[in-house]
């Protein structure tokens, strides 16, 4: 049986022993979902690519500490979230870039212009949220993880996750309502 046919558990074990081809497969299997999370949190391609690369470097360095009883994906979520938070903290002074349709066309296939516009609108609003609220909102509402999972990933209590989520949702809805009212006024 070739290396391509082996399970994630075996790939992790082999990577722990320093097998590069096994680690390459782990990268291939997980890079897309990590890129999606990073892009949703950071909102631009270059930063998302940096976050994914840094995260896999961290994974390689810390793989010997990973307990195979844990879920690998949860561990990856934790690493990418913390890496994104670090990038956001470093870029506090950097002005926010708006996502363009051209950018999104590269990542989203087979969707109508209407859906693309809606996605841009939601992502733009997400990027106006404070760091922690943004990460919690992305993990819970855009990635569809449960509060318990988010709390495990970010190592925060459920009540803290809920309070961040509450504030993020209020903020999101206020901004969305404002956008809708502005667009209706424009139509008139």
């Amino acid at each position: 049986m070739g290396i391509k046919g082996i399970s994630e558990f075996e790939l992790i074990q082999k990577s722990k022993e320093g097998d590069h081809s096994a680690f390459r497969l782990l990268v291939e299997q997980n890079q897309n979902f990590l890129y999606a999370v990073a892009y949703k949190i950071l909102g631009n391609e270059d930063d998302a690519l940096d976050a994914v690369q840094d995260s896999f470097v961290k994974v390689w360095k810390k793989l010997h500490l990973f307990d195979t009883k844990q879920i690998f994906k949860t561990w990856l979520y934790r690493i990418i979230s913390n890496t994104c938070l670090d990038i956001l903290r470093q870029q506090k002074t950097k002005p926010m870039e708006r996502i363009s349709i051209a950018d999104l066309n590269r990542f989203i296939e087979d969707n109508t212009l209407e859906i693309k516009e809606m996605v841009i609108m939601v992502y733009d609003l997400v990027h106006q949220l404070p760091e922690k609220q943004r990460v919690v909102f992305v993990l819970r509402d855009l990635e569809g993880l449960s509060v318990a999972e988010v709390s495990k990933i970010l190592k925060l209590s459920s009540s803290k996750i809920k309070s961040n989520l509450y504030n993020a949702r209020i903020q999101m809805r206020k901004m969305l309502e404002l956008m809708y009212s502005e667009s209706k006024e424009g139509e008139k």
Partner: protein, 181 residues
């Protein structure tokens, strides 16, 4: 349930327990204002849900994989360099220690053989007192011993050669030595 509390709970509707959901639903069926507010929140939720369902895929995934693997290779190469440097340093330390040990061994051997030679040159009965005597006393005693030995040699000469002229010289020497001692 009050309207303000109800509006707060609407934002965390998906996180509420079944009891809390039931109480909220009961309030919504009675309060038109809250029901409208809730409807608006649900519409927004639907919009976010739709946006969440859209998959994001990085188009150049092969490039991303190779960039990541290149960085891993670099890390491993620098790790190996460090290991090689560490090994070289350890070899240098080992050889230095070996040379120092060899030098010390030679010095020790030279010291021991020198001491042994000194001990061998000492007369046996002097050996017993060596530890108690100072270097100066040892030298004096050795000189005295030599003088005594020479005197006894000349005594023997006198006994064996009583009539020769040489004997007279011997007696003179003997007498002078005895006077000195």
């Amino acid at each position: 349930m009050k309207c303000s509390k109800c509006k707060d709970k609407m934002y965390l509707y998906s996180e509420l327990s079944s009891d809390e959901k039931q109480r909220l639903d009961e309030h919504l069926s009675d309060c038109e204002d809250c029901s409208l507010h809730f409807q608006r929140i649900m519409n927004m939720d639907l919009l976010i849900e739709k946006a969440a369902k859209v998959d994001i895929n990085y188009p150049n995934s092969d490039f991303l994989t190779s960039t990541i693997m290149d960085r891993i290779e670099l890390i491993e190469a620098s790790k190996n360099k460090y290991k090689i440097r560490k090994n070289r340093f350890m070899i240098f330390v080992k050889y230095t220690m070996a040379v120092i040990s060899f030098g010390l061994a030679i010095l020790f051997y030279a010291e021991v053989s020198q001491t042994e030679q000194i001990v061998r040159n000492y007369p046996m009965n002097e050996m017993e007192h060596t530890s108690k005597l100072t270097t100066l006393t040892i030298k004096e005693r050795i000189e005295k011993r030599r003088a005594k030995d020479e005197a006894s040699t000349w005594k023997n000469c006198i006994r064996n050669n009583e009539n020769s002229g040489e004997v007279k010289e011997c007696i003179k020497d003997y007498l002078s030595l005895t006077i000195e001692n």
